[in-house]
Amino acid sequence: MTGVGEVAAFWILATITVGSAVVVALVRDLVRAVVALVGSFLGVAGLFILLSAEFLAVVQVLIYAGAISILMVFAIALTPRSARDNAETAMRWLALALALAMVGLLIAVATVTEWGPQAKEGFQETASAIGEALLNRYVLPFEVASVLLLAAMLGAVVMVRED
């Protein structure tokens, strides 16, 4: 993280991610909130690239910006009663308290861990490293996760069938 380019890129991406996250919380219209959410997803993807984890960045774009945002939008469109806007709810204060607690936790973790130089040598291939790790050391969780996902999909199909 030495060159001036990386530092500038980092700050830009950081502001994008946090900024759109704040927008998601504050904006009235839910669909606009989803658009801001996509903005923060892309910001996170940018941060991944900065950490030279390009495979994760591309998967982040594909999964989050591509599919999860659609999921959110469909959820909004198909819930009949949702008033389509971020109306004030009674849970406001509880949410604020929870948020503050979360911020406190993050700051604590950030200060405790020592951040030493990570990226010693330059840009090296991480996609194949992830692939090998998934299929060698972590093959069991990989298989269990896929079975879980399959079960979830079948469950969804069964739930929606009319007859």
Partner: protein, 416 residues
């Protein structure tokens, strides 16, 4: 790599840019400047190429469709109607950009941008030549699919933002369709990655160059699945459900006028180029032509293949009727997905066998090619017969010819 590697060697325009950057570097400019300049040059070249070929293809499509439909096509503006696309562009630019009253201003304005940007960004990864690629990421293939999947959300926003019943219907339909065909698309690309062993587009092209084979022979099923899935992603017949004129007027971009509508059209064409380029790189050997690329410029071969695939889309558009949305979805989940999974399994098996036996490529690849093509044809024809003709309900029929009046021949359709 070749005898003539200096800048005037037109076989790969990348040499010229590299020579210019070296010259720039010696001038003692700050270290990041050449990097910035090469990006700008690459971007300009890509955009110029995309827009020019889009204009060309607007003309080519209208003329080709006309030839298919036994008519002439535009021939008034300029010789052979060549200025017609310019006229269209001027018309689109000069038309007023109306925003419907009930529309959600921000989303309505954002949607066309959100649809065009992914299509252009995906162009950056495509290798036109050995050194003619803007950014040869080692996740190139996945990058194309990921970026073009973000456009789906903005298509929905277009429908949702323009506060019009027809656009809403069109938006819901197109999103459901795009999602289900993305799965098929990724699986089709996966099979290619299994064969080549890497998803860097440069590696894929050099792999095909090294073994002097085209993956179309090794992966026919993958190509079939990818072509069908991408014709849905790009909203071209036989699946232009989103803007099915005969049903819901113009789908999600009904309310758009002027350059905003023009952007949707540009996005459709450039996404079409991206898909055609992917097919050209993955299945047709990119800029290699079994050694011919030593003499003929690599990027020329690549463009010929790209335009050939795009011509296939135009041909599809001119001839096939449109499937209903639920049939299209059924086709994706029940027919294409199992086929693609089988294809990935097949590719995996073949790679394992090849690695175990360490047999030389010249022996193994032809066997795989013949085997894959046979299995592919057998599967498609067998499945089509099973789903189609064997079921009496779907068999094309003829009407009875009767001589006398008064008889009733009605029989209710037996439910299958």
């Amino acid at each position: 790599m070749t005898l003539l590697d200096s800048w005037w060697d037109l076989r790969d325009l990348g040499h010229a840019v590299a020579a210019f950057l070296e010259w720039l570097g010696d001038r003692g400019v700050p270290s990041w400047l050449p990097y910035l300049v090469s990006t700008l040059v690459g971007l300009m070249a890509l955009l110029l190429w995309a827009l020019l070929s889009q204009l060309f293809f607007i003309w080519a499509e209208r003329r080709l469709l006309a030839r298919i439909q036994v008519r002439l096509g535009p021939n008034r503006a300029g010789p052979f109607g060549l200025l017609q696309p310019v006229a269209d562009a001027l018309k689109v630019l000069s038309k007023e950009m109306i925003t419907p009253r009930g529309a959600d201003k921000v989303l309505f304005w954002l949607a066309p941008i959100g649809v065009v940007v992914p299509a252009i960004v995906a162009l950056g990864v495509i290798p036109f030549g050995q050194r003619m690629v803007l950014a040869d990421l080692n996740v190139g293939l996945l990058f194309i699919v990921a970026v073009s999947s973000t456009a789906t959300l903005f298509v929905f926003l277009a429908g949702w933002g323009s506060a019009n019943k027809y656009s809403l219907l069109g938006a819901m339909r197109s999103v459901a369709m795009l999602i289900s065909y993305e799965v098929v698309q990724v699986l089709a690309l996966l099979a290619v990655a299994v064969f080549v062993g890497s998803i860097r587009l440069g590696d894929i092209v050099s792999w095909q160059g090294r073994y002097n084979t085209w993956l179309i022979f090794l992966q026919p099923l993958g190509l079939l699945g990818f072509l069908i899935a991408s014709s849905v992603e790009v909203n071209r017949t036989p699946s232009d459900i989103a803007e099915a004129e005969s049903e819901i007027v113009a789908g999600y971009h009904t309310e758009y006028g002027g350059i905003r509508w023009g952007m949707f059209q540009m996005a459709e064409y450039i996404a079409g180029f991206v898909v055609a380029a992917t097919v050209a790189v993955l299945w047709l050997g990119g800029w290699t032509l079994w050694g011919l690329e030593e003499w003929v410029p690599g990027w020329l071969i690549f463009l010929i293949k790209l335009y050939g695939v795009f011509f296939l889309f135009i041909w599809l558009r001119g001839t096939l009727p449109r499937l209903r949305i639920d049939q299209l979805m059924g086709f994706a989940w029940k027919f294409l997905l199992p086929l693609m999974l089988l294809n990935v399994l097949l590719a995996g098996l073949e790679m394992v066998v090849w690695k175990e036996t360490e047999a030389p490529a010249e022996v193994v690849l032809p066997i795989w090619a013949v085997g894959n093509i046979a299995i592919g044809v057998g599967l498609v024809v067998g499945w089509a017969l099973l789903m189609g003709h064997l079921r009496p309900r779907n068999r094309p029929a003829r009407s009875l010819l009767v001589r006398e009046v008064g008889q009733i021949y009605y029989r209710p359709l037996e439910e299958v």
